[in-house]
């Protein structure tokens, strides 16, 4: 699906055509879910975030002004949803342990990786605001620093600096004999 088709679809959806919107959402659903999963590292949270994002998309599609790429706009939307969702979760004093892994839904290998991903995301969460987004966009989604900067609405240099900081933090992580990563100070 090329860009022209996509913007045509968006325009139609903005006009109130629910068919077009359904088509658009079906196209984007997987990438929304993928990003949400990378954000939180487990399927159930990812689903919650995805739902939020879908509804948000429905409500705000009319506000998309074609000033930036649709994908950038969508990334920003999902990031905002994810942040909102986390805030609401923290308000409920959710214990991290019980939504860490759900082995019955994933093969072993994935479950193990999921643990490491959780650890990594935990580390990124501990860093200041904006670091996690930068890492996910550049390393996870494979965007360039400039693209990530456009999405996060910061300067490119800021993204580069954040990634550099993350790299420095990672140096402190030591791989344990059992393959897990642990913070060594």
């Amino acid at each position: 699906m090329n860009a022209a088709d996509q913007s045509e679809l968006i325009r139609t959806a903005q006009g109130g055509d629910s068919q077009a919107f359904a088509q658009l959402l079906a196209n984007q659903y997987d990438s929304i879910y993928r990003f949400a999963y990378r954000w939180c590292g487990n399927p159930s949270d990812a689903e919650d975030i995805t739902q939020l994002a879908c509804i948000k998309l429905a409500q705000t599609i009319a506000q998309f002004r074609f000033e930036a790429a649709f994908s950038s706009w969508l990334y920003r939307l999902v990031i905002n949803c994810a942040k909102d969702w986390y805030k609401s979760q923290n308000r409920h004093q959710h214990d991290n342990i019980d939504h860490w892994i759900e082995p019955e839904r994933a093969p072993d290998q994935t479950a193990e990786n999921s643990i490491y991903l959780q650890q990594l995301l935990g580390l990124l969460d501990q860093m200041a605001e904006g670091f996690k987004e930068a890492a996910l966009l550049v390393h996870g989604e494979g965007l360039s620093h400039a693209e990530a900067a456009a999405i996060l609405q910061v300067k490119e240099s800021t993204v580069s600096w954040r990634l550099h900081e993350i790299r420095k933090q990672l140096q402190l992580l030591q791989q344990q004999p059992d393959g897990s990563w642990e913070l060594s100070l």
């Binding site: 629910s18 359904a22 996870g140 550099h164």
Partner: protein, 673 residues
């Protein structure tokens, strides 16, 4: 496998792993929810559209929903009363109910306080605007600083100046916000680069050759001491830099002879060019060990008259690698080189070669007359990249050979922090290369810059084997000293392969020790062997060497008498001399050495000149200081306070303030202890 730090690849791998596919059922549920939201979103819009279509309805709706006369403006509404029973409340205070004499005060009070609020707001606004300006200016200054971290060697300076101009414009312009955006774009990713560049300097990686201090030698075992002269001054400048930072230098960085030879002792000049040196010797009591004596040897080189100064063919070989990108490095190099330019004659030629990742010629041999061209080439240089030093040196020799001046002085001046990390980087390989080139009559001088990654051993190797001197430039005033005040001695050699041999008289000297010159020691047989390389002396330069001796009969010696070797019978006929000094040198164009011989007498017949004595005493103060800094085993009961006392008493005229500075350094060393 275990205990490896996590790296970026692990990070990527973790972040990029494909998440499990979304559950189809959930997906359907989400889609439905979204669709519901979407249609809910569309409905009010549809309603709105219908209201636009019927303007009559609209006015009515707007009247109904009017919220203009609400809240504060409530009293302006067209209602009869604020309460519903049409009476005026008695107990609520209102303006009308005030006694009439209170009304003016109330009104003026309200007026005054509203004025105060207005003034306060204006003031706050002013503050906010100004702070914005300051912050912006600071940020822009930072960015333009980091902008001078380009990666290309020959990038024109024009771009940098453009961005500077832009900075000025922004700082003045009232329409700041509009200008900020392009500026921010003009400085891509400055922070990361800055961090990466700065990191190495935090480490302490200065490299010095290890050496052990000369020890005490019994005259009966080895009466002959041989060494090459050393007119380098690098060690003193480096030590000064460290002390000025409040740190004691590492012991190997302190080379006593270079500390001593830093100062311009006013030994009387030789009369003519034929014998380019005069030697002066004197014997005085050791200030740090009672009973011991110091033999002070001063050598003064011939000073060239202005008319005698030969033409020079200089090649500046400048290190512009990334490691040179510090205020105390490349900018100082440029300033130093332009200083040197002023001391040259119009007919002299200059070429500039640089090296970073690769070596290149920046300026073909150019007459000093075309000064603006040379300066322009110098100022265009920017630092970045790795360091292919060996390649640079080869290129510089090529340039010097291409423009070889048989009558003049051909010299390469290498300015670097000594970090050669690309190409033949071993000290020894480079040494071989430089040695081979030396035979062709091209001198190599080394100017060291910077700190944190200073490769002193490499610089020494290059300068010693390239028939040159090594100086360390820590400040612009040091550049002034080396390249302007002492330009003739830096540039024009009057003798090469200068060696000193002292034979001690076993009848009068029990044991001796050479202070400093550890890295310059020669074998006894090297002295008369003209094939063996040694140090050079420039025009007007002076060299000082000091021996500490224990005379026969004194109790201050460190060595025990041998039980088995026959005791030396004191030969009365031969006991008027402590030692015999031999000095060998070659004139710059010659290959055969000349010999100067001077006996060092026990008792001096001629009265010592007070000025000369003062110079001797000062050099001994410096030697004592160097020994203390090195933590020498032979420093005796000398202290920093005694160094200060001795130096203060013998400061002399001190035209350039070097000796005053020395006293300050001793004080700093005392504090840094």
């Amino acid at each position: 496998m275990n205990k490896t730090p996590m790296n970026e690849d692990d990070l990527k791998q973790l972040l990029q792993q494909q998440p499990p596919a979304p559950d189809a059922e959930t997906k359907a549920r989400h889609m439905a929810a979204a669709m519901a939201a979407f249609s809910a979103q569309q409905k009010p819009e549809v309603e709105n559209l219908s209201t636009v279509a019927t303007p009559a309805n609209e006015t009515c709706a707007s009247e109904k929903k009017s919220n203009i006369l609400q809240g504060f403006f409530q009293r302006l509404r067209l209602t009869r009363d604020t309460n519903h029973h049409g009476t005026k409340p008695m107990n609520t205070s209102s303006f009308e109910q005030r006694p009439f004499w209170q009304k003016p005060a109330l009104i003026s009070g309200i007026a005054a306080s509203s004025l105060a609020v207005l003034a306060g707001l204006t003031f706050m606004q002013h503050l906010m605007i100004n702070s914005d300006q300051e912050e912006l200016a600071a940020r822009i200054a930072e960015q333009s600083l980091s902008k001078t971290v380009p990666l290309i060697v020959q990038e024109p300076a024009a771009e940098a100046s453009v961005s500077l101009q832009r900075v000025e414009k922004i700082a003045i312009s009232p329409k700041m916000k509009a200008e900020v955006q392009p500026m921010a774009l003009a400085a891509p990713a400055p922070m990361v680069e800055e961090i990466i560049v700065n990191q190495p300097s935090q480490e302490f990686r200065d490299r010095f050759e290890d050496f052990k201090e000369n020890s005490v030698i019994a005259t009966s075992e080895n009466p002959v001491s041989t060494f090459s002269i050393d007119v380098d001054t690098a060690s003193y400048s480096f030590v000064r830099r460290m002390l000025n930072n409040g740190q004691l230098p590492e012991k190997d960085a302190v080379r006593t002879e270079e500390m001593i030879n830093y100062f311009d002792y006013a030994y009387p000049l030789p009369r003519d060019k034929k014998t380019p040196f005069v030697t002066y010797t004197s014997v005085i009591d050791s200030p740090w060990k009672a009973g011991n004596k110091l033999i002070h040897i001063g050598i003064q080189g011939y000073q060239l008259a202005a008319s005698e100064i030969p033409q020079s063919n200089l090649v500046f070989l400048l290190d512009v690698s990334g490691s040179m990108d510090e205020p105390s490095k490349l900018p100082l190099v440029k300033q130093s080189m332009s200083l040197l330019l002023d001391t040259l004659k119009p007919d002299d030629t200059i070429a500039i070669a640089v090296y970073a990742g690769a070596a290149g010629t920046v300026l073909e041999p150019t007459k000093v007359k075309e000064k603006s061209k040379i300066l322009a080439a110098l100022n265009n240089l920017q630092a970045g990249g790795s360091t292919a030093g060996a390649e640079g040196i080869a290129l510089a020799y090529q340039l010097a050979e291409a423009n070889f001046n048989a009558k003049g002085v051909n010299r390469i001046i290498l300015a670097t922090d000594g970090d050669f990390n690309v190409g033949q980087t071993g000290d020894e390989q480079l040494q071989d290369f430089v040695e081979r080139k030396r035979e062709k009559g091209i001198y190599l001088s080394v100017l060291g810059f910077g700190q944190g990654n200073y490769q002193d051993a490499m610089m020494q190797t290059l300068a010693q084997n390239g028939n040159g001197t090594a100086a360390y430039i820590d400040t612009l005033s040091e550049a002034q000293k080396v390249l302007v005040t002492e330009a003739t001695s830096t540039l024009f050699p009057i003798a090469k392969d200068v060696k000193i041999q002292v034979e001690f008289n076993p009848n009068t000297v029990k044991e001796y020790r050479l202070i400093g010159y550890e890295t310059r020691a020669l074998n006894r047989e090297d002295f008369s062997n003209d094939k063996v390389d040694a140090g050079e002396i420039g025009a007007g330069q002076r060299v000082t060497a000091i021996y500490e001796i224990t005379p026969v009969g004194a109790q201050s010696g460190l060595l025990e008498d041998s039980r088995y070797q026959p005791k030396n019978k004191v030969d009365a006929s031969n006991s008027s001399e402590y030692a015999f000094l031999r000095l060998r040198y070659k004139l710059p164009s010659e290959t055969k050495s000349n010999l100067i011989e001077t006996p060092i007498a026990v008792a001096r017949k001629v009265k010592i000149n007070a000025e000369y004595q003062q110079e001797v005493n000062f050099s001994i103060a410096v030697a004592g200081f160097a020994q203390l800094l090195k933590g020498s085993n032979y420093a005796g009961n000398f202290t920093y306070d005694k160094v200060i006392e001795l130096a203060q008493a013998n400061k002399g005229k001190d035209e350039y303030g070097y000796r005053t500075e020395f006293v300050q350094l001793v004080r700093k060393a005392k504090v840094a202890q």
